[in-house]
Homo-oligomer: 397 residues x 2
């Protein structure tokens, strides 16, 4: 095992009607003027935004609003938010939404608390010294951004999607009411489940020595996600299943499932980021579309983990051959994705990149990772290209 730092300062307030506590939570943090940040119309239509505003009014907290965050949140809106935050002298950012809104809020937080171009942080040119404090009212179980130190922003200039991790941006609080996720369309629920599962898988499939407690917690979490995703397919308004998924989403990406490991693999996230940047696909769907090809490309180099995963998470019986058992585990994950109507190829994802696009994505993916990425197997540009090529069509059944 490796030395590690575990730091999750976010106060989670979980359960029914918890959004009514938002104003009090901001007050507890000393917030007096808030940038209220959100996405499209659903938080307006559902009445959630009104309820949140009511709780701000109760605590005599002032606010300005910036909506319009889209999936794969854009740098241009981040710039707008920074300008607004500075002009209005806000001292707290409240993200009401899912991962895109939270990530956008984090980027605004970095930018509003300092000078210069916020993209510098995502481009690895310099590090932020501070971040405006932020809180979250979560409406989608997926990204884990509500407890994580990570944010991902897309720069429209070149459609470059880049992540940046820094403890400065960890939300001060996260209000999590599973009821708010009950009306999500099935596709979005499925994308969320995939993303959650992937956040743990990325940490789980590693070549490093790990900790048993971390591995077994990760396995418990993955089993829970798979079981409850199946329940939500049939019964999307099941509160308990929504709650399991929502809490799994946070635990999956707050580093609990990586303690003692080497930081994880995260090659699939890298591969997906290029898809997301170039084609604006849903993050979870993009992950599902490349995972099977990635797994088949790397599993022999990390056989003990894929074998253990097959047995403990996917419930595969040991066939006597570790390799065969591991492969059955991979097939079971793909079968699970299909049951959620998630794509398991780029074709099913609805994109048809030519050779040139694949090469471009592999090049960008390698470049953004400093030339190599992965732990289950270290991947270089040619490996990334090979995986993209495998992922083009579902030819592996």
């Amino acid at each position: 095992m490796q030395n590690f730092t575990y730091y999750t300062p976010t106060k989670v307030v979980f359960g029914r009607n918890t959004e009514a506590q938002t104003g009090a939570l901001i007050k507890e943090q000393g917030g007096k003027k808030v940038l209220l940040h959100y996405g499209g119309g659903s938080v307006v239509r559902s009445g959630l935004l009104d309820r949140v505003k009511e709780s701000l009014r109760e605590q005599e907290i002032d606010w300005v609003e910036l909506g319009g965050v889209v999936p794969n949140p854009r740098l241009s809106l981040v710039y707008q938010g920074i300008a607004m935050a500075k002009e209005e002298q806000v001292d707290f950012i409240l993200a009401v939404g899912g991962g895109s809104v939270i990530d956008s809020a984090k980027a605004i937080g970095y930018g509003a608390a300092g000078e210069g171009d916020v993209w510098d942080f995502y481009a690895r040119k310099r590090k932020p010294l501070s971040c405006l404090p932020l809180g979250v009212v979560l409406t989608i179980a997926a990204s884990g951004s509500e407890m994580s130190n990570s944010s991902v922003i897309t720069n429209e200039d070149g459609w470059i999607k880049r992540g940046y991790r820094d403890d400065l941006c960890r939300p001060r609080f996260a209000v999590m009411n599973p009821e708010l996720t009950m009306t999500l369309p099935p596709h979005q629920t499925a994308c969320g489940c995939t993303d959650i599962l992937m956040h743990t898988m990325e940490r789980y499939f590693t070549s490093a020595e790990t900790m048993e407690i971390t591995d077994s917690i990760a396995e418990a979490l993955m089993r829970t996600v798979i079981a409850n995703a199946r329940i939500l397919l049939e019964d999307p308004r099941n509160y308990e299943a929504r709650a399991e998924m929502m809490w799994a989403g946070s635990l999956s990406h707050n580093d609990l499932t990586g303690c003692g490991g080497d930081g994880g693999d995260f090659a699939c996230h890298g591969l997906e980021h290029e898809l997301g940047g170039l084609y604006d696909v849903a993050h979870g769907a993009g992950l599902a579309a490349v995972w099977g090809s990635w797994a088949r490309y790397v599993y022999r180099d990390c056989l003990h983990r894929f074998y253990r995963f097959a047995i403990r998470v996917m419930g595969i019986s040991d066939t006597g051959s570790r390799e065969e058992t591991a492969l059955k585990g991979i097939e079971a994950v793909e079968e699970f994705f299909r049951s959620l109507r998630m794509p398991t190829s780029l074709e099913e994802l609805g994109i048809h990149p030519g050779a040139e696009e694949l090469e471009l994505m592999a090049k960008k993916c390698a470049a953004s990772a400093g030339g190599r990425k992965g732990s289950a197997k270290v991947l270089y540009e040619e490996d990334m290209l090979a995986i993209y090529e495998m992922a083009r069509q579902r030819s592996r059944l």
Copy 2:
């Protein structure tokens, strides 16, 4: 499931040589003058205290010292610490030790940050408004106090042992180097393992509806503790096993294993507190001595949990009878305690209370809980007395 708040702001810095970071971590928290709090001579003899002081010197942090904390930490030393902290105007408390030292530091933190008698908080007369910030260099895996909001203090006036929980006292950081626990004597290691297991069991055995993700994480944690306690029996210098135990200790009591539950049972802790107050026994040993009797007294009222526990944690095969299977699980825990040379009766604990002492303890236990305690089964004074009586002798085999 129930609504819950999950709040673990403690920055955990885990692994080899991490104590060298102590000074830097205090500086990060703004600490300039520290009360260095510890127990007996082992941290001196091992050289740990010198290494910690060196890291303070490196950061030009001043300190005053107060050693002498004993197991079941005493109120009189807490008073001394408060007086010293105020006189010396310390702005940070550093606990170097195990749960007793941390709990003592927390009590000093409450007292030093306010006015009046600190015992008022433990006696439920009033609530603290603040607490001096504190950090931990952990030397014993057991109490989980390094991430918890709880502290337990013994008032020598009446030998009353009382706990108090408040987020104000959660440590700002916890330095956890498993190497520091390698030289613990076997009995202390076993007491620690028992305490850790119990912190999760207290939350697990509940009559409330819970969350699957919480239950399955709890089961993973309990299996890890049992497996690694067995390794440490044979190989006390096994770094990996020490690390598993140390991290399990924190996760067991930072509320992760209670999310969505009703706060847990904690009757065994209540029963043990009276033993600890009156006879000054080791906390883990006291817990082991009453657990089996408690479990046999309550399991029929919480059969589904005891049944699931038997199968998933203790690896018992279903006998076809839920009750019989549950009982086999209880027996397996007692067998595990015995393998660690932990007592499973008051007699084995080395105490021989008469009827009057048992009645006194049951009365105090009920009184301190407001008349009733427990979730697996709600216990009143007569139930507590019955359990103490069952626990007197190991008559159940």
